[in-house]
């Protein structure tokens, strides 16, 4: 594995300069500790979290309390809104639909996306920029543009009101961003690694499997999480394509808030529970997403 030797050398050098930078950092103007900075950070936190916390806390109120005193803390705290939603079979049905659809979408996006990005990033061939432009142009197609014909197409494919019927188009709409993010990511992998693997007799496919895929893990996680959350949060396509038992959580939230317009506390409870899974999943992955997006935006 002489391919690996290039990396550790560079890594050691990078690590060395990194630690050097860190020690320098504590003595320069970029240092924190200024109370104003913490004050501003606090405002940003309150601004970001306020509405979310308001929703979650309001789920613990009674409806009477919500009308009398919407800005204070709940009095009394009640669990019945949340327990009511949790024992609602529709809620679990919607959650299952959202989960399965998001998983299928994510798998399709990651597999097709990295496969397409690989030649676009590392092969030289005629028409490469042309194909890449197709994906970039894809960024401009909102689902809204083709939604009526899409509805007819899905019906003709006998996929109406099924998990695949929503996952396939969603994956297609997520692919452009995936390729646009992954391409610079794959391009950034040093040519020396590819040359070294060639010297060791690996084919381009071998390079793809053994070196490129493992190295692009963070990028794949980024696009995977973006696809998952995109699917989890999607509204327009499910709104037009899914009915009854196959509805996803955003549709459920919208339906619930329309049907129970007098039970505002219940609406808040439903909304809060619906946002938890994506919130936890996304925030757990946050660091990787940022490192992946960084590559895309710089490129």
């Amino acid at each position: 594995m002489s391919t690996a030797t290039a990396a550790p050398k560079g890594a050691a050098a990078a690590a060395a300069t990194k630690t050097a930078r860190r020690t320098n950092r504590s003595t320069n103007v970029m240092r924190g500790g200024n109370p104003w900075i913490y004050f501003i950070a606090l405002i940003v936190v309150a601004f970001s979290l306020g509405p979310v916390l308001y929703g979650v806390i309001s789920g613990f109120r009674t409806n009477g309390d919500l009308i009398r005193n919407p800005s204070g803390l709940p009095d009394p705290w009640v669990l019945k809104n949340y327990s009511g939603i949790l024992s609602d079979s529709n809620f679990w049905r919607y959650t299952l639909n959202s989960t399965v659809i998001a998983l299928i979408t994510t798998a399709l996006v990651v597999i097709c996306g990295v496969m397409a990005a690989y030649p676009l990033a590392r092969y030289k061939f005629k028409g490469r920029e042309g194909i890449y432009t197709i994906f970039v142009a894809g960024l401009l197609f909102p689902a809204t543009v083709g939604v009526i014909p899409l509805f007819i197409l899905i019906r003709d494919l006998n996929l109406s009101n099924t998990w695949w019927g929503i996952a396939l188009p969603q994956a297609a709409y997520a692919l452009p961003l995936t390729v646009v993010i992954l391409r610079p990511f794959l391009q950034a992998i040093p040519n020396e690694l590819e040359e070294a693997s060639q010297l060791d007799g690996a084919s381009r496919l071998g390079f793809f499997w053994r070196i490129l895929l493992p190295l692009s893990g963070p990028g794949l996680v980024t696009v995977g999480v973006l696809a998952f959350v995109g699917s989890w949060n999607a509204y327009l396509l499910p709104l037009l394509l899914l009915l009854g038992d196959n509805k996803t959580l955003p549709l459920g939230v919208a339906d619930f808030s329309a049907e129970h317009s007098t039970d505002i506390a219940g609406v808040f409870a439903f909304t809060s529970l619906a946002m938890i899974p994506a919130l936890i999943f996304f925030l757990a992955m946050q660091k990787r997403i940022v490192s992946g997006l960084q590559g895309a935006v710089k490129g």
Partner: protein
């Protein structure tokens, strides 16, 4: 895994490592690799045919998905836009460009288009300076940095439907929390509530959009700031630059590509805005918050004017395409060639 990626970028960015210190080496490596593959075709099993096959197999699934579920429906939308069609039966009544004329002469569509433009400009005009200022201030070692970044990200993660439902309840006149807080300090919102008032509904939508997307801007800018080489700060400090001078002369110019890419994504998102408006106001009151997307969904699903809806969707696409091309031509093109060179020079 992240560290691995860092190595990769570190190697790219730091040509001090022996392999890349000579700028001609990578070029020469590439050039010599090509004929070499030709000569040792047997060993690598390559050659142009094999390479073409690999490219085709790798790109085909993505292109097939894109073609079937994005391009074909849009082509159909273009087709439908030339017919008067109510959603059933064959296309019989070909009306040429009449649908387009009717859309472009429709005051509701013009209004919706103007709202889109206002949202495009307002999103960038509000989020760019605000996000940049916050990112610059937070770009330092401080306690709780990780959790801070996580919290900033929260609104972005929520679906627009969920955010819309929560904000809708907060905007409820009199009993909603916003009116309650306002009246406790002696102010009062509009009688119909912010989302129900003609002059306040659009600002309310923009405010909610700012809440939802500002965090994303901050996170992207912070990520971009990580890419500014530390040596630049050190050099500037040695030269006696103040914090503000460093930000203005070093950091913000180095952040250019990030800012331009963010603004591009923001623009495209604003043009396609649908979910938030649909949940928050439904495009109302009296179309005060309609967007091109809500217009075409209303025409399509509620009035079954599929021809009109399709024409509107094609116009929406053309508007987005023209704006994107202009943006790429006049703003982004600086990045594609110039910055790579500049970045390399700088890190040397």
């Amino acid at each position: 895994m992240i560290d691995v990626a860092d190595e990769a970028t570190a190697q790219m960015g730091a040509p001090a490592s022996p392999a890349t210190s000579n700028p001609t080496v990578p070029v020469a490596g590439r050039a010599s690799a090509r004929p070499a593959t030709g000569r040792s075709a047997g060993r690598r099993g390559s050659g142009p045919f094999r390479k073409g096959l690999e490219i085709t197999l790798f790109v085909a699934p993505a292109l097939a998905l894109l073609g079937l579920f994005v391009v074909v429906p849009i082509a159909r939308a273009v087709q439908i836009s030339f017919f008067k069609w109510k959603g059933y039966g064959d296309f019989e009544r070909f009306v040429g460009l009449d649908n387009y004329r009717r859309v472009l002469e429709n005051p509701e569509f013009i209004e919706a288009f103007q709202h889109n433009m206002i949202i495009v400009v307002a999103s960038i005009a509000i989020q760019l300076p605000l996000g940049l200022a916050i990112a610059l201030l937070l770009n330092r070692k401080m306690r709780g940095q990780g959790i801070l970044r996580t919290i900033i990200f929260v609104p972005y993660v929520l679906s627009e439907v969920i955010a819309g439902v929560i904000w809708y309840q907060m905007f409820v006149p009199n009993e909603g929390i916003i009116d309650t807080v306002l009246s406790s300090v002696g102010l009062s919102g509009p009688k119909q509530g912010f989302t129900g008032s003609l002059e306040w509904a659009l600002p309310a939508v923009i405010a909610v959009l700012t809440w939802k997307y500002l965090g994303m801007a901050i996170i992207l800018f912070l990520a971009g700031l990580q890419g500014v080489p530390e040596e630049l700060y050190e050099a500037a400090q040695l030269d006696g630059a103040s914090w503000w001078q460093i930000q203005r002369r070093v950091t913000i110019p180095m952040l250019g590509p990030t800012l331009r890419t963010w603004a591009f994504l923001s623009m495209i998102g604003s043009l396609q805005l649908f979910d938030m408006v649909w949940v928050l106001t439904g495009g109302g009151p009296a179309n005060a918050t309609s967007t091109m997307a809500t217009f075409l969904v209303q025409q399509g699903t509620q009035r079954s004017n599929y021809g009109i809806a399709s024409a509107a969707s094609v116009i929406l696409f053309i508007v987005a395409l023209v704006m994107a091309l202009l943006y790429q031509r006049f703003i982004m093109n600086r990045d594609n060639t110039a910055t790579v060179v500049r970045r390399k020079k700088v890190s040397r």
